[in-house]
Amino acid sequence: MPVRTKTAESPIWVKWLGVAILLAAAVAVLYSLSGLVKILIISALLAYIIDPLATFLESRGLKRSGATAIVFLMIVGIMALSFLVLAPMLVNQIISIQQSLKSGHADTMVKQIEQMAAPHFSSFGVKEVNIADRLEAYAASTAEWFFDHILDMVSLLTNIIIIPFIVFFLLKDGRQIKKQFVSLMPNRYFELSLNLLHKMDIQLGNYLRGQFLDAAVVGILSTLALWALNVKYAFLFGAFAGVANLIPYLGPVLGATLAILVTVIDTGQISTAASILIAFIVVKLIDDAIIQPMIVARSVDMHPLVVLLAVIIGGKFFGILGMLLSVPATGFLKVSLQEGIASYRRYR
């Protein structure tokens, strides 16, 4: 009669306690290394988005390192081109908006809006609306953040060097890293962890690439629509709408609000504001009816409340970048939990 030993099972509470301690330790470490975590998250997101291009080149007969190098050079080229062509355009439009907001015409418009809005807000206990002060304070804090985080040369240089470096190696050696990680698992959890990683990889890849493509298409459509309506800062508003679209529910509203508010203050034309609103509604309808069903993975649908909480928490810890990254990061957590629980049930 064959003898087959069974591994000794620990009591369930020991397992859960172990998991809780591990999770708490992981959160503490991640929090203390938040700067590094931010860089790693951005690099991983970029690697996920770019990966199919490298795989495509590999399927045409190139080695992984060659395919990665080509894709990488392409991306660096596009980024450099964007930096040289698009960045000056954006900066010019921002400066132009700043100057226009300081003009006497904008002042009059803001006062008119304040007078119109004040009676409606008084019922909520708000005595003074002070849009101008609020806008000025917000613009100042945004500019401060922009200079602190984006134009701070030390962090800019560090990020420009480190992020591409990490992305390159994640792309080139991602499979080996995954294989070596799975190899460290004990025999009992080996198949489970490989299966879990595989499923997460597919789900996350589809989700992140879908979100990125969706944001890009919405950005382009919004820019085109605003350009067709002859809106002054079409490119800036379009680009903002695209980036904001990464935040479900809130993003499209933010994109439209910024465009409408600045246009009304700048030109005072309510009719243009109405056309902008219609343009954003049309883009949103196209996005909901055509783009999203085609490219965004529906399995990572998140409840509006979860999105809102994620955005608030992301903003609290990592600022504006955190707000943008919080949704993909929550998507990552949701997919991990979903697949983890499903796999655990199947293998139990």
């Binding site: 064959p2 087959r4 030993t5 399927s59 490989l194």
Partner: protein, 177 residues
């Protein structure tokens, strides 16, 4: 060097040759060139099992196939039953799981210290994306192996139906060997 790290980094080149030799004996990889076998080798996981350690249990979702590099593997239905089969060096099992995640039909456990090479569904899917030609070659090898097994199963069923099963089944088994 720590065991975990040595396991990852210090695989000797002589091991690599032997892995290729083991793979060559598996009908699924029979038509692959040396270059293609090296590619497959990079996707293979090496696992070691202690005497009596479970490799997988019946009913668990299957993820892929195992090839015995050294040692022995018992295939069984219930823990205290006689094994359905004992597999040795170069033999393989679980290949149907390369195609889907259907539950394992039997359990497998190591008999003595056993080293297995593992080739899994996610790696096959990756390979089909990255090198479709090689992926298709493996799928053809897999289909041929499954087809042969189906043919043998049909033969056994016919023998069983036609009466005097014991002697005829033995004869069939002898013919297969």
């Amino acid at each position: 060097m720590d065991i975990a790290w040595s396991n990852i980094f210090s695989r000797k080149s002589c091991d690599r040759n032997s892995v290729k030799d083991v793979l060559k004996k598996v009908p699924i990889f029979r038509d692959l060139s040396d270059r293609e076998l090296r590619k497959v080798e990079r996707l293979i996981y090496h696992r070691s099992f202690a005497d009596g350690e479970t490799i997988f249990r019946a009913g668990e979702p299957g993820l892929g196939m195992y090839i015995v590099e050294s040692g022995q593997v018992q295939i069984y239905l219930l823990a205290h039953d006689e094994p359905l089969a004992i597999l040795t060096d170069g033999e393989f099992f679980g290949e149907l799981s390369l195609l889907d995640e259907s539950p394992r039909s039997a359990s497998a456990a190591a008999q003595g210290e056993t080293h297995l090479l593992c080739f899994f569904h996610p790696e096959l899917m990756d390979l089909l994306n990255v090198d479709p030609r090689l992926g298709v070659k493996i799928l053809i090898g897999l289909s041929r192996t499954i087809g042969e097994r189906l043919k043998k199963a049909t033969e056994y069923i016919e023998v069983m139906k036609s009466g005097n099963p014991t002697s005829k089944v033995d004869a069939c088994a002898d013919k297969d060997r």
